[in-house]
Every structure is written in structure tokens, then in C-alpha cells.
């Protein structure tokens, strides 16, 4: 029996073979492999470009915008927020290792004491409240959005490094995984239906990006007027598109979703803040 299990897991068949639970690393590998098999010519590093990886024209437009991002003044606003001391005299930089450099790729992380997923936004709010300031609303793009538009640039190039360790962490990961794969609502879609099963296909006019890499490049400034979208605001937008009432930005369900979804991007480099259509 042991031999059989070893043999099956070697083939990556264990999941299909029975109810055995896949580890997060198995999940990530099989999702990445599926994209690789479908698109052998796209380098895994390029998954961070998402839909742009399928369209040289769109990628060229992206590269042009990224040379002199027209939304740079917005990121500067975020930088001023980041550098302004709290009433306590401390700064955000005092709350994070390396003054906040190369940290964002560790989030979401699991807090085993609180038994909760902690997003980068939550860590920022924790810093605020520890220093006597009111927390920001995660859905407020004028505060939390702008602040992370800068704070995440400090982690540019860092590889996404999400850890799922222990039973409670795994439960949160599994909850996020269910949300990603479960079909819901009137239109009966799941995130996976579009971003795993139909990666690279065109939905009316839009290439569907691959799930791995999707969590690396936030916030994004989107469209003709460069509207700022955090990752969870993007979740809400996809939910809206498929006629589901979006869940709460910063709420536990989206936090768990972000935990699973970010795990799928492990090993890929972060980049803030990018342009997206």
C-alpha cells in the first residue's frame, strides 16, 4: 500500500485517486503545470503579466505606460502618508522588519494566536492602532489604497512567499480554496472556471489571465482614468461582473481567498503599482 501511495503521488494522481487532501504545494504545482502544458511558450516568470502574456500588443501598451506611469503622483501621495510620523512620533517603517522593505510578499500570513489570516492591510492597520491612530477601511482607496500603492513598492522584486503551517492555517487556506472553486450565483461561475479552466481563452474581448501571478502586482491603476484597485477590490469587481453581491473588502472570506490565491503565486516576484486595462 505504501508503495502504491508513493507511486501514485509521484504521478500526481493521489487527488484524483481518492479523497486524500492535496497539500498547498501540490495545489500550486498542479495549477502552474496546467498552464505550462497549455502554453509551453509562456515563461512562468511572465505569469505576473496575466492577460498581457497572451497579447504582445497589450503588453507593448503596458510597457509604454509603465515607462512614465501617469499615476505616479498618486503613488507619491502614498509615499507622503507612509513617511508622515504618527502622533506617537513613530512611523510605519518602525512597525515592519527592514523598515518595510521586502515584507509584502510574506502576506497574507497566518496568525496562529488569533487563528486568523493577516493581510498586509491588516498589518498596516495594526501599526496604526498600536500607535494610537484610527484604522483605515480596507475598501477606502483614498487612504488604504494609496498607502499600499506606495508601501508595496518597497517589496518590488521580492518573491511571493506565503506559508501555510499548522491545522488552523490549513483550514483558512482550504476555505479560500473552496471560495475560489465553488460555483455560485445566478450565472453559476467560479473563479477557477475562468482563471484555471479557461486560461488564455478570450471572454468576448478579454483574455483570461492565469491564477498564478494574479496576486503579485497590486494595487493596479486601471483603465483610461487609472482607477486604483487593490487586489480585494478586484475580487469584488469579478464578483460584480458575474452578478454576485461582492463580499466585504477586508472581511474574513476575502482574506481567506487572498491567502489561497496568493499561495498560487509563490515564487513569483512582486511589483507595485502597475497599469491594467
Amino acid at each position: 500500500m505504501k508503495k502504491l501511495i508513493w507511486f501514485l503521488s509521484g504521478l500526481g494522481c493521489l487527488v484524483a485517486a481518492g479523497g486524500a487532501q492535496a497539500s498547498p504545494e501540490d495545489d500550486r504545482r498542479s495549477v502552474v503545470q496546467a498552464v505550462q502544458e497549455k502554453y509551453p511558450n509562456i515563461k512562468v516568470e511572465d505569469y505576473v503579466y496575466g492577460a498581457l502574456a497572451f497579447s504582445p500588443d497589450a503588453k507593448a501598451q503596458y510597457d509604454a505606460v509603465m515607462t512614465f506611469p501617469p499615476y505616479e503622483a498618486e503613488i507619491d501621495k502614498g509615499a507622503r502618508m507612509w513617511n508622515t510620523p504618527f502622533k506617537s512620533g513613530k512611523r510605519y517603517a518602525d512597525c515592519f522588519p527592514r523598515a518595510g522593505k521586502d515584507v509584502a510578499g510574506n502576506y497574507p500570513m497566518f496568525d496562529n494566536a488569533a487563528k486568523k489570516v493577516v493581510t498586509f492591510e491588516m498589518a498596516i492597520n495594526r501599526c496604526r492602532t498600536d500607535n494610537g491612530e484610527a484604522p483605515y477601511k480596507h475598501s477606502d482607496m483614498n487612504t488604504m489604497g494609496l498607502l499600499t500603492a506606495y508601501a508595496r513598492t518597497l517589496s518590488d522584486g521580492m518573491k511571493m512567499n506565503i506559508k501555510v503551517e499548522g491545522k488552523d492555517a490549513l483550514a483558512a487556506y482550504e476555505a479560500g480554496k473552496r471560495l475560489f472553486h465553488q460555483r455560485r450565483g445566478q450565472l453559476n461561475f467560479s473563479c477557477a472556471g475562468c482563471h484555471i479552466n479557461y486560461v488564455g481563452s478570450v471572454l468576448r474581448t478579454e483574455y483570461l489571465s492565469m491564477a498564478p501571478g494574479q496576486a503579485t502586482h497590486w494595487p493596479a491603476f486601471r483603465g483610461g482614468d487609472y482607477t486604483l484597485f487593490t487586489l480585494q477590490r478586484r475580487y469584488a469587481a469579478c464578483h460584480q461582473m458575474v452578478r454576485l453581491v461582492p463580499l466585504e473588502i477586508g472581511g474574513e472570506e476575502y482574506n481567506n481567498l487572498e491567502y489561497y490565491h496568493s499561495y498560487l503565486s509563490n515564487g513569483l516576484p512582486l511589483k507595485a503599482s502597475v497599469f491594467r486595462k
Binding site: 499615476y71 472556471g193 479552466n197 481563452s201 468576448r204 474581448t205 482614468d225 469584488a236 461582473m241
Partner: protein, 122 residues
């Protein structure tokens, strides 16, 4: 420095409308849509999100998700089979991406019949 208009807008103004399934407001109130309109409209059938219709020049889409809707009478000698596919695609294929238009009341029975009539003519 380039001034951008207030970048943060009400969440409603999402760009994914282009791709999509999002609702928008009808400018000229409710009026009965034709089968073709129902099939094209992204708040109704939105078939063009996933199907091309090579025999209808007005059907503009870049999609490659699902089989092109063409020669339908040959491929669906029984209209009922076509109706059943649009009513609930998950019956034929459990993990179908195609929304169950009848079963989930995305289209009313009248609308669904109009769409099927239109598609049957392709």
C-alpha cells in the same frame, strides 16, 4: 506633472464591463428584445462572451471559449436538444462554463425560446 482625475471612483465604474456580465441601465426603458438582441446583450444571453456566430455579420466578438454557433439545424436536428443545452448546459457536461439560462432564470421562458429560435437559424 500630469494631473489625473480623481482616480478613486465609486466601485460601480468597473472596467470589466467590456468583458462582461455586469448589469447596466437601459436608456430607453424596457422594450421587448429580439432573439438576436437577447443573444448579444451582456445582461441577457451574452452568448457572444463565449461563442462566435460566423454566419451573422453583426455578431462581433473575439471569443474562442466555446464552439462557434453555426449550422445549428444540421447539428441539432431536434430543436429540443438545443433548448435543453441553453436551459441547463451542466446537464450534458457537469463542469460546463456555460450558465444555466433557463434553470437559473437568467432568461425567462419567452426570452429563452426567442434566443433558441434565433440560434437555430444560424
Amino acid at each position: 506633472m500630469y494631473q489625473i482625475p480623481t482616480p478613486i471612483r465609486a466601485a460601480g465604474a468597473c472596467l470589466i464591463l467590456m468583458a462582461g456580465f455586469a448589469q447596466s441601465v437601459h436608456a430607453n426603458g424596457p422594450k421587448a428584445l429580439t432573439g438576436q438582441e437577447l443573444a448579444f446583450d451582456n445582461r441577457k444571453g451574452n452568448c457572444l462572451a463565449c461563442h462566435s456566430m460566423p454566419s451573422d455579420a453583426q455578431a462581433v466578438t473575439s471569443t474562442d471559449i466555446a464552439p462557434p454557433l453555426v449550422s445549428m439545424k444540421e447539428r441539432f436536428p431536434e430543436r429540443a436538444k438545443l433548448y435543453a443545452q441553453v436551459w441547463d448546459a451542466t446537464k450534458a457536461k457537469a463542469d460546463s462554463l456555460m450558465p444555466p439560462f433557463g434553470k437559473h432564470r437568467i432568461l425567462s421562458d419567452d426570452e429563452l425560446n426567442k434566443v433558441v429560435d434565433y440560434v437555430y437559424g444560424l
